[in-house]
Every structure is written in structure tokens, then in C-alpha cells.
Symmetry: C2
Subunit: 194 residues, 2 copies
């Protein structure tokens, strides 16, 4: 029994599917498209996965759980709230660079999840956003931020981080460290008290 090769084959399928889902979207990508990218026949995919939806679930939920875990670890720390935000920005940039395809899918294809996974995903997302907002409120409460509307600040920061993938990679002459510094500046400096 070659568990190792089995797993790697499955990983290749997930990888190819992620790339195609990103390029064409979930619905526009057929099982035969994915199979062709892997180099096998469409029906052969079913030796490794139970169906198309399972691919989406696996790609999406693994990322969702990753961000949930990171958020929990940050909240366990005793960092000042504004440093928690900087860590979050840093994490978004890192995962966007490392797993661009999967990040792209979680941002733009989550609506194709079927129940009950859809509810599970939305639960994780809402929890993440609420914790994010809570940190922003802390920044206001401890006097670091001006008295901005926390929901608008949250939305402004999160939408930029989520759409990083569509833009990162096209810019050749930006290194990740500069990017991180500039984004912290653009996203947070408007909120910090002067």
C-alpha cells in the first residue's frame, strides 16, 4: 500500500483544481478540465476524490481553518492591539504569496459551497471578522486609534487584504517586506491618532 503516492496524487489533483478554479471559476471548470491538467481521464479522478464539491470543500476549509488558528494564536498573545493588527496584515500577505490559488478561491468562490459546509464556512468567517473588529475596537479604546467607525475600518482593511491576491504577483518590483511596511502604513496610519 503506497499511502505516500496516493496522497501526492490527491495533492496534485487539488493543486490543479485550485489553479483552474482560480482561472475560470468553480462552475466553469469541468472534471475533465481538471483531469486533463493532471494528465488522466475524467473518470479516473474518482479513484482519489468523491466528487467535485469535495475538492472545493477541501481547498476552502483548509484555508479557513488556517486563518482561524492564526487569529486564535494572536488573541492568546498579550501584544498591544495595534501590533495584533500588524501581525494579521503580515499573515494575510504571507499566505497570499504562498498559497495564491487557494486564497483566491476562498475570496471569490465560497458561494458555491453546498450545505452544510456553507454554514460551517460562514460561521468561521463571521467569527474571524468579529475578532478582527474586536481588535480594532481595542485600538480605539486604548487611545491608539481615533474614534472611527470600527465596522468601516474593518471593512476597509479586510477588503484590501482579501483582494491582495488579484494584484500581488503582477507587481514584479515589490519585495514582500516593503509591501508589508507600505500596507501597514496605508491601512493603519489613517486611523492612528496624531
Amino acid at each position: 500500500m503506497q499511502v505516500d503516492q496516493n496522497k501526492s496524487r490527491r495533492a496534485v489533483i487539488l493543486e490543479c483544481a485550485a489553479r483552474l478554479f482560480r482561472e475560470k471559476g468553480y462552475k466553469a471548470t469541468s472534471m475533465r478540465n481538471i483531469a486533463e491538467a493532471v494528465g488522466i481521464q475524467g473518470a479516473s479522478l474518482y479513484n482519489h476524490i468523491t466528487g467535485k464539491q469535495e475538492i472545493l470543500v477541501e481547498l476552502l476549509m483548509s484555508i479557513a481553518r488556517l486563518f482561524t488558528k492564526e487569529m486564535n494564536e494572536i488573541n492568546k498573545s498579550s501584544l498591544p492591539a495595534v501590533d495584533k493588527l500588524k501581525r494579521l496584515i503580515s499573515i494575510h500577505i504571507r499566505y497570499t504569496a504562498e498559497q495564491t490559488d487557494a486564497i483566491s478561491i476562498i475570496t471569490s468562490e465560497w458561494a458555491h459551497l453546498e450545505e452544510p459546509t456553507l454554514s460551517e464556512y460562514l460561521g468561521l468567517r463571521n467569527a474571524y471578522e468579529e475578532k478582527f473588529e474586536q481588535i480594532i475596537k481595542e485600538c480605539i479604546a486604548d487611545g491608539t486609534f481615533e474614534n472611527v467607525n470600527p465596522k468601516i475600518a474593518l471593512f476597509s482593511i479586510l477588503s484590501t487584504l482579501r483582494w491582495l491576491y488579484s494584484w500581488y504577483g503582477k507587481q514584479k518590483n515589490i519585495n514582500p517586506i516593503e509591501l508589508e511596511q507600505e500596507m501597514i502604513h496605508c491601512l493603519l496610519m489613517g486611523l492612528i491618532k496624531r
Copy 2:
């Protein structure tokens, strides 16, 4: 000949299609879905439109041309660059409120455009982004903004404005005027020299 009713029927189809494209995506929305929303049979749609792609083209390009026109008018004015940015933010918020479905589609479904319309759309979008970036550069040149990376500032602002639709409307207790003020604050204050 009832041109008026003909036009309104066509408008209803575009409206229903926009809503469905937004809710389920272009590929996941069938012609029969659209027809059902209108209250006719699928095949009857073809008395008013030439096909599914035409609906997407019409919805998308009308918005693209709208933003192109607004950008040109702003650039014709002799406003200070930072006020041009404020006008752009204002315009994005207004159209997002007025035409949420179409705005949603231009942000998330443009990739389903077929050639040659796809190239035409991307041309308009690139021109818009370049003019937007040029205004940011003006703000840096005239000393209003700090010496930030203009591409990162552009991306940060634009992604927030583009994703407004996914978020606006869920927030009951925010009026458009407050939203505009807060967004100008969140998006621009981090850039302005202190």
C-alpha cells in the same frame, strides 16, 4: 409598434439577470433561471436578446463606460488632486448604492466576458487604474501625500471601493454621508502628510 414596452421588457430581463448573476454567478445562472425570474419561458428570452453573453456584455460595459466618463470629467476639472480622489470615492459609493447588482458583476464576473469584449473591457479598466494612479502621484508631487508607493496606495484604495458592494446594504445603521466621510478618512488620512 410599442418601443416603450419592448425596452422595458428588455430592461426587466437585464435587471433579473443582474440579480441572479450576482447571487449565483454567471455560469451557475441558466437562461431558464432568468426566464423564470421574468415570468416567461426560457426560449422566449430570445425575442429580446441575442444570447446569454449579450446580457453580460451589456451589464458590464455600461458600468465600465460610466466610470470612464466620470473619470474623464473629473480630470477635466481643475480641482486639487486630493479633491479628485474624494470625488472618486464619492462616485464609487453612489453607484454602489444605486446599482449594486451591476457593480457586483463588474467586480467578480468580468472574467466570463468573451473576446473581443474582454479586451475592450480590460482596456477601459487599465486606463481607469492608470488615471487613478496618476492622481495619487499628483498628490505626492504637490506635497499633500507622503512619499508612499503609489501602486500600493492605488491598490489599497481601489480594492476597498470595489468590494464595497459585498458589504454595503448589510449595514443598516450607516447613512451614505457618514460612510463617505469615514471612508475618505480610512483611505486617505494614512497617506496625508502630518
